[in-house]
């Protein structure tokens, strides 16, 4: 499961951020909750993903201290939303074809 997930981390992170701005720790928690604990990534690998998505203008970030702790909050940009829609469609198409192939064997 981990190997399959590592190739789709960008998509998964964009999908988690679709519901609103989050900091890194909350993204990990949301991911774990939504997958019933199956998507248990090495937490440190999330931040390079967030930074490169930001470099690609798919997410934006800002410092926030409202919780009493200084945290970097990430949110989806318009470009990120478009990328999420495109990648989700791509993934669904791939998964559908894979299912057809596996089902036939």
């Amino acid at each position: 499961m981990k190997n399959l997930l590592s190739g789709q981390l960008d998509l998964v992170v964009l999908a988690v951020l679709r519901d609103g701005p989050l900091h890194g720790y909350a993204i990990i928690q949301t991911l774990r909750e939504r997958s019933d604990g199956d998507f248990d990534i090495l937490e440190g690998t999330l931040y390079p993903v967030l930074h490169r998505l930001e470099a690609a203008a798919m997410v934006k970030s800002r410092w926030d201290s409202s919780s009493g702790r200084r945290r970097r909050i990430y949110s989806l940009t318009q470009r990120g939303q478009k990328a999420l829609i495109a990648r989700a469609a791509e993934w669904r198409s791939f998964a559908g074809r894979l299912e057809v192939v596996i089902g036939a064997s």
């Binding site: 890194g24 720790y25 090495l42 440190g44 931040y47 390079p48 993903v49 470099a55």
Partner: protein, 324 residues
């Protein structure tokens, strides 16, 4: 700074980030916050502070792995940026060279003035075309794998370094003209030097990107992390299956292809040079054209040998046998 396992981890991560040339203040701040939040949650659920910190660090992953991921992302961004700078500098150089060629008095443009630019621009066009293929292939991906960011940065470096050498040679030729006379083309010279400075800036960006990619490439790799798709053929195939098939055939025999291109360039330049003169039937014109054509063919062959590997046109020890 938090005490215990977390502070030890942060120190190790900082060292690894610095080793990989990654700006680390923001990364460390985010990591510290993340580890502290995890440790607090674990402590609240019954773990001791020591256990909680150790578990938070374990969940975060090895410092070397995290630092490598940041370095790879930074190398990809740097390579993309270098390619954009290389293209901009090429356009600036073309504009500057064209301004000189069109506006400067003709007696300032006598042979060999302009020759370095003629060769430099050709090499830059080939390097940038290869860069463009790679840039197009990865344009929608946030991450360029290390295996692909290295040749992208190398292509940008070949293009910009060639142009900077050309510019320097042109300036040297202009400065050492026995008859002088550049006072008559002062404005054009200023425009040319402006273009050359843009090229110099792009070269610095390309050197930094190439160094960063080389650094990432030299890092220890996790098992199964090598990307086999980082060849020019794979890049072309990813853009177009038809072009990919053509590229596979053309690049299968790199030396033979280079020889054919060199021979074609030699003939084309010889014929063009000869026909450009009113006295094309005259032996001296034909010989002069053949000399320029031969020079062009030799330049193609030399460039293939000098830059072919950096541009991904040939692999180490490539020969007349198919490239693999």
């Amino acid at each position: 700074m938090t005490e215990g396992a977390i502070s030890v981890y942060l120190a190790e991560l900082e060292a690894q980030l610095k080793l990989n040339g990654v700006a680390c203040s923001r990364v460390l701040a985010e990591t510290e916050d993340h580890l502290a939040a995890t440790a607090e949650e674990l402590a609240a659920s019954g773990s001791t502070r020591t256990e909680a910190e150790a578990e938070a660090v374990r969940r975060f992953g090895r410092a070397t792995t995290v630092a490598r991921a940041f370095a790879e992302a930074a190398a990809g961004s740097a390579a993309r940026s270098a390619a954009s700078w290389a293209l901009a500098s090429f356009l600036a150089y073309v504009a500057a060279a064209a301004t000189v060629a069109l506006a400067a008095p003709s007696y300032l443009l006598d042979f060999p003035q302009g020759l370095p630019s003629w060769f430099g621009l050709q090499i830059a066009v080939v390097a940038l075309a290869i860069c463009l293929v790679r840039w197009l292939r990865w344009r929608r991906e946030p991450l360029i794998p290390a295996e692909s960011s290295a040749p992208l940065a190398a292509g940008a470096l070949v293009a910009t370094a060639t142009l900077v050498v050309s510019a320097a040679a042109e300036v040297l030729l202009a400065a050492t003209r026995p008859a002088g006379g550049w006072q008559a083309g002062e404005a054009e010279a200023v425009v040319f030097i402006g273009g050359a400075l843009v090229v110099a800036a792009a070269t610095v960006v390309a050197i930094a990107a190439a160094a960063r990619s080389r650094l990432v490439g030299a890092l220890p790799r996790e098992r199964g992390r090598r990307d086999p798709r980082a060849t020019l053929i794979a890049d072309i195939t990813a853009l177009s299956t038809v072009l990919g098939r053509v590229a596979t055939r053309v690049l299968a025999y790199p030396r033979l292809t280079a020889f054919v291109v060199a021979a074609t360039a030699c003939i084309a330049v010889t014929v063009t040079q000869a026909l450009a003169h009113d006295f094309a039937h005259h032996a001296s014109v034909v010989i002069g054209a053949a000399v320029v054509g031969t020079l062009e063919g030799v330049a193609v062959a030399v460039c293939y040998l000098a830059f072919g590997r950096a541009l991904g046109l040939r692999s180490a020890g490539s020969s007349l046998t198919p490239a693999r």
